[in-house]
Symmetry: C2
Subunit: 198 residues, 2 copies
């Protein structure tokens, strides 16, 4: 990265960080670009240089965790050919993303209805691609006769729903680390509740 | 119900209905008690007669669906002694609740951070009781040697998380009815993705 691009990325991250803190403490709608500028130590014009609007900052919060999430799960997709092994690694990776971006994810979900139609569409495309990686893995498992489900797409939505719900109760300082949680939920999704060979 | 209690319940429901429509269209924080009174065809004093504050209305939105939900799942709990059968019925009942109260549930989750600490505590107690019915069923299945999971409480949270996520994508006018969705997700939670006896 060139020095200027690096500086620009660092400044954008600073502004987003200040905006996140304000959105969390006083609410998205109650926060102005002026507030964000003051908190970040920039002029209002300085903030507008990087972001066309407050809504653009909200969109960028999603970009940060979805882009990093997509990068990590595509890496898993490329590395693991076996669908069961890939499924296990995808779940672990997804829970790690939730651990690493818990506050951003919570904030984004709370205010995502404030996104413009265009930005919502862009968000949705990336979420669809994220879901695609999981659905393809399940579908491949079914194709190879290893997995079984009545409905790949709906099954995948329920699986991702169970994983995503973790951001509402997971405590990074709590009793469980993400690998342990991943092991528990992966065991359930792979083997089901019903005892095998009872 | 006495005539007066009936009238009171009907009026409260009218006010809550108007409030929900306003919260959904212009936002919870942007809506005033005056707006709610006008939309419901009451004086502001008339609304305050039934609700001490706007936050009390938000709390009542949750009361409506959680009380009906608790009533229905306790009925299932009392009726089905076999943990596997009860588990199947609990999931079906829970998805029906989400179908019947989808808009209220979505609204509530969007604005629940506006609840007072006291009301949040009351909400949490009812949610804990709801979760308890599911966890007891899983625990009983494990105790009888029918179910198997590494962690009853965390497993139950992942199960409820997968079911709850349905409110974000379920379309009551869409291709799937709730019984079909319940069958798909129950099959996955009971049997797991991995083919049995491959």
């Amino acid at each position: 990265m060139a020095v200027n691009a690096e500086k620009e990325a660092r400044r954008k991250a600073e502004i987003i960080g200040s905006a996140c803190a304000l959105f969390a403490s006083r609410g998205y709608r109650e926060t102005t670009m002026q507030d964000i500028a003051e908190a970040a130590g920039y002029s209002k014009g300085g903030v507008y240089y990087y972001f066309a609007s407050k809504e653009e900052i909200l969109f960028e919060i999603h970009e940060r965790f979805i882009n990093e999430g997509l990068r990590r799960i595509r890496e898993v997709e490329a590395r693991y050919g076996d669908p069961e092994e890939r499924f296990v690694k995808l779940i672990e990776t997804h829970l790690e993303i939730i651990r690493d971006y818990k506050d951003d994810i919570t904030l984004f979900y709370r205010y995502m209805d404030a996104l413009s139609a265009d930005n919502y569409e862009r968000v949705k495309r990336k979420r669809d691609e994220y879901e695609r990686v999981f659905a393809d893995t399940v579908r491949e498992g079914v194709g190879r006769g290893v997995f079984e489900t009545e409905h790949v797409k709906l099954g995948t939505m329920f699986i991702l729903g169970s994983l995503n719900s973790m951001h509402t109760w997971y405590n990074p300082q709590g009793d469980y680390d993400v690998r342990e949680l991943a092991r528990i939920v992966t065991g359930l999704w792979l083997n089901g509740l019903k005892k095998r060979n009872p």
